[in-house]
Amino acid sequence: MSPVGLLYSEVEDDLRASVRALLADRSPWNAVLARCETDQPYDAALWKALAADLGSASLAIPEKFGGAGASWREAAVVAEEVGRAVAPVPFLTSSVVATAAVLAIGEAAGEAGELLDRLAAGRATVVLAVPFSCAPDEAFPESARADELGRLSGTVTSVADASVADLLLVPAMTESGPALFAVEAEAEGLKRDGATCLDLTRPLADLAFAGVAGVAGVAGRQLAAGDAAVAALSHALRVGAAVLASEQLGIAEACLELSVGYLKTRYQFGRLIGSYQGLKHRAADLWASVAQARAVARYAAACVADDDPDAPVAAALAQAYCSGVAVRAAEECVQFHGGIGFTWEHPAHLYLKRAKSASIAFGTASRHRAALGRLVDLPAA
């Protein structure tokens, strides 16, 4: 195996500082919480600032396609900060997963098309219409179908960020096999029902397609078919799994910092509670797990950035490991804070809900362990 760089570059440090400053200014946790209680959980202005003004949406898009020509490595740094701030923005779904799908199709076709232009400019929010729990190694979904005119019917449930999408990428079965379609979110015959979700900061929606027509423009346009569609879908989900690990790292870091901050200020029995080994040792273990999650998440981001042959292993490893670290960090954050950590007015629950939901996103840890068994030749019983 070639040595893969696992450190942050200076460019990445600068990018992180910009994103962190923006999120701290525009999306502190109490603003996130207040927004979650309205019917507008997304912050459209913040998303525009992050995607278009800061250019986060175009990081992984090559310059020849109008992007910034950076890579998934830099996108992963943005994901860390989005996780750290539990920010209600469709960065992972649009700028990572859907962008990876469109890029895969564009690279195969040798041209970018109008869709990639809009993504690169941060002008369109695009979402891949699969359940958020869909894993990279799952069979091509068959819950949506397309007729010979490209008219879609059927349903897709639990699609993350679908309610704010301008455009949906819909995997659907056709007479001749799997295909990927682009559908305008406002297309006639498409119904988007917001679901009531465990995670308040990344809403899901159920989609129902009732003969959504393949009319002029991009609506209902078939982007890819056959093996190209299957490959684009699994590639996009794999990049999503790899970059989600960085978001999970950000969640875990934020939970550790919140916890340590509290352990240093809360007195009980006349002592700072952080002086008790029962707590300080757990904090030390958590710190060690976060340090490991950082190495694993960096490795996954680097592998998908470089199209490394080890990318499938790296992405499965990242979800098998970082999912659990983020959940444990959030659970410990609640417990370290005691009663206040169990209240609505404390940010711990925002992290807990996002971490727990993220651990199911793109497949659970146990599903990724099973995938690793196949990838590294450790066969099942």
Binding site: L6, L7, A284, Y299, L317, V376
Partner: protein, 399 residues
């Protein structure tokens, strides 16, 4: 002269094929190619540490002998950096060359039966032979334990209490102890694996000249920090390929023996595989940080993870083997008498040995509990342990 020119000159003047091993190693030391980051004249070139790899690879390729670094690990990893940092010019000149060539093996006389994690509480005492005269010899009496290589060592680094009337950290002094002194008695310490890697060392009226004191009287704790910091770097930081550790042995058994597989064991194995790979990538990242001049505290995380994982994986392996897990490869007595191991042989021994030996990983080189204290206090900035003995004269402490 460039590094490569120095290597070439050494090889030309001392053909490895025709030069006795010790002569070659001495010549290599004198050419500054022993440890290039050491000073000129002491086996080094004042060069960056990462250039050592170039020397090692070039000389290995030329068929040159090495100094058997595993056998003399304590000398190289702990005694040498301490002597370099705190020794006099005379001490450096006397000790470093035969230490590096392996002509003189070193051991470490730190831990005691009554001073494990609380090393600073140690009781071995050193007193001046002629009362309080400056410059006179020291007489050392006490008991040390967990001493690897004491039975082969020529010298030891030793901490002893020179002033019991002050708080524990302040009354210590650091010495170089002659292991051939008639007052030194070394006994093998048989451990739960059945073998004896370690020794107990009884010191009875051992005479140490004042010239073998390392650092000022009473400064032993500060000097020891150099040794202990280097010990933590030495444990758990090595480069490993994927499946390079104990996990590789379990994975091999899984692949070769389908009859052992169950569904529950499959998920458990993959969970351990994931953790082992995470630990490996963390160690890789740590090395990249060091190479980039950004040393971080992640080394203690690596050591914690290494200990826990080795224990979990080796325990899983014994379970997986079923009936075979009931057996043990070797309890024979010569493993602690005549044929004692000089390194920990995880790969060459059975699963039962790995399971038992791994129990030491969370104790040796700093227990996992002490490591968690260190991380919590020095990395996370949490309140320090309450130390009731900090300001009390050592002689007044409960022993």
């Amino acid at each position: 002269m460039s590094l490569l020119e120095r290597i070439k000159a050494l090889l030309e003047e001392h053909d490895p094929a025709g030069t006795p091993r010790t002569d070659f190693l001495r010549a290599r030391f004198d050419a500054g190619l022993a440890w290039v980051h050491f000073p000129v004249g002491l086996g080094g070139l004042d060069a960056p540490r990462e250039q050592q790899r170039i020397v090692d690879e070039a000389l290995a390729a030329a068929g040159a002998p090495d100094n058997d670094p595993y056998r003399i690990g304590i000398g190289l990893g702990m005694a040498a950096p301490t002597i370099l940092a705190h020794g006099t010019d005379e001490q450096r000149r006397r000790f470093l060359r035969p230490l590096w060539t392996g002509e003189e093996v070193w051991c470490q006389l730190f831990s005691e039966p009554g001073a494990g994690s609380d090393l600073a509480g140690l009781a071995t005492k050193a007193v001046r032979a002629d009362g309080s005269d400056e410059g006179s010899d020291w007489i050392v009496t006490g008991q040390k334990v967990w001493t690897s290589m004491a039975h082969e060592a020529r010298w030891a680094i030793l901490i002893a209490r020179t002033d019991p009337s002050v708080p524990k950290h302040k009354g210590l002094t650091y010495f170089v102890c002659d292991m051939t002194d008639p007052g030194v008695e070394v006994r093998p310490l048989r451990q739960l694996t059945g073998e004896a890697e370690f020794n107990e060392v009884f010191l009875t009226g051992v005479r140490i000249p004042d010239a073998h004191r390392l650092g000022p009287v009473g400064a032993g704790w500060a000097v020891a920090q150099t040794t202990l910091m280097n010990e933590r770097v030495a444990i758990g930081g090595g480069a490993q390929p994927r499946e390079g550790g104990v996990i590789g042995m379990v994975a091999q058994a899984w692949r070769e023996r389908p009859e052992l597989r169950t569904a529950a064991a499959h998920d458990a194995l993959l969970d351990l595989w994931v953790q082992a790979e995470a630990a490996r990538l963390t160690a890789t990242r740590l090395r990249q940080q060091l190479a980039a001049g950004q040393p971080g505290p992640e080394g203690s995380a690596a050591k914690l993870a290494f200990a826990r994982l080795n224990q979990e994986i080796s325990g899983f392996e014994v379970d997986l083997l079923g009936e075979e897990g009931l057996r043990y490869d070797d309890w024979s007595s010569d493993r602690w008498t005549t044929d004692r191991p000089t390194t920990v042989d995880f790969a060459g021994r059975g699963a039962g040995y790995r399971y038992l030996r791994a129990k030491g990983n969370s104790i040796e080189g700093g227990t996992s509990e002490i490591l968690r204290n260190i991380i919590a206090e020095r990395v996370l900035g949490l309140p320090p342990e309450i130390r009731v003995d900090k300001d009390v004269p050592w002689k007044d402490l409960a022993q």
